[in-house]
Amino acid sequence: MNEHLFQYLLRLGDDSLILGQRLTEWCGHAPTIEVDLSLSNLALDLIGQTTLFLGYAGEVEGKGSDADRLAFHRDAEDFRNCLLVEQPNGDFAQTMARQFLFSTQSVLLLDALTQSSDARIAEIAAKAVKEVRYHADLAADWVIRLGDGTEESHARMVDGLDWFWRFVDEMFEMDAAETALVQQGIAVDRAAIRSAFDARVAATLSEATLAVERCDWPLGGGRSGRHSEHLSRLLAEMQVLPRAHTDAVW
């Protein structure tokens, strides 16, 4: 098995799986019906992308796992998502802050991955990036609307972003495994897309009358399985049914 490639696919798939699962918590609870539909659509896209990435991961692993097996029968320490996506939804502004930061990163990453030397990754990325562009636009629109809105919405947006600044650096972290994949043309150098990310975030926040904050105490560990307690609770809810009824099929 190509362990580096397997781990990379888990990172890509777990990011979209955990964020997709988080967004489903809004279903039926969003501020308006339009927002409810939007967040459910985002979740659906992300779970769809997960199926492709984790499906490929299962093939690379070669132990007969499909996407469902990997999603429902791994424990928290085996997940490779970044910490940002597992953070609680908070209020609507916090959810949009997380979405804005993640999707802005994701558009750049997937866009670059369409040139991957791994044809399978390239075709999944080409499909996914079209969907994620819509996510990034939606989130940026709300960051601007809330930031440049009322005193209350502005304060909420500031609080929402404040929760996430410490998790931004982890999205661009590289390690030896990913660097090896970059040298083979399979992966994208995350550090190399950071400046484009910073520029897009700065432009949107400026329009939103918000400030970019630097975090002196960035948190990481998700890529090697060290997660916050929030992930365990999310997995408990997501995995309980397939684990209680292991042979059940749709």
Binding site: E34, L44, D45, L46, G48, I124, A126, K127, E131, D137
Partner: protein, 159 residues
């Protein structure tokens, strides 16, 4: 090659979410190919990665092929080239409009999502319309409203 009769069968398979349009006119059917095993195969591509209709579409195509006597024809799903609204046929666009869904602009898939396109109300034809929500009842549709006749309508998202 029995491509003519097979494509005719596929042309009768409706999209489960938008039954006014066939899976051929929506661009989901990408054509007929020889599979690795040498058998004839219908090549299909999903619209959105998470579209819940994807499995149902494959099953509907299987049933239609079986019913028409094409049991040996296989179905092959491919991701590349990624489906785009530019793959919807002219007939499909007209069927969408008649069904009450504003069709996507041609070539829009490759340009900015934020472009200021003129969207005609599929009910009264007015161009005085506005976007209510970029995400609608299915992944492929956005929710719009006509300022002239006040009717809400779906618009097929440019993708």
């Amino acid at each position: 090659m029995r491509s003519g009769p097979i494509m005719a069968v596929l042309g009768t398979v409706p999209d489960p979410e938008i039954p006014a349009v066939s899976v051929v006119d929506l661009g989901i059917v990408r054509g007929l190919v020889r599979s690795a095993s040498g058998a004839l195969a219908v090549r299909i591509t999903p619209t959105y990665t998470g579209c819940p209709a994807t499995l149902l579409i494959e099953r509907s195509i299987r049933e239609a092929l079986d019913a028409a006597g094409f049991r040996d024809v296989e179905i092959e799903t491919v991701l590349s080239p990624a489906w785009s609204t530019d793959m919807i046929s002219d007939a499909g666009r007209e069927q969408l409009r008649a069904y009450g869904i504003a069709p996507p602009h041609r070539g829009a898939a490759s340009t900015s999502l934020r472009g200021a396109y003129v969207v005609e109300c599929p009910r009264c034809g007015s161009t005085h319309t506005r976007e209510v929500s970029r995400f609608g009842s299915t992944p492929c549709k956005a929710l719009w409203q006509c300022n002239s006749c006040a009717e809400p309508f779906d618009r097929f998202k440019c993708h």
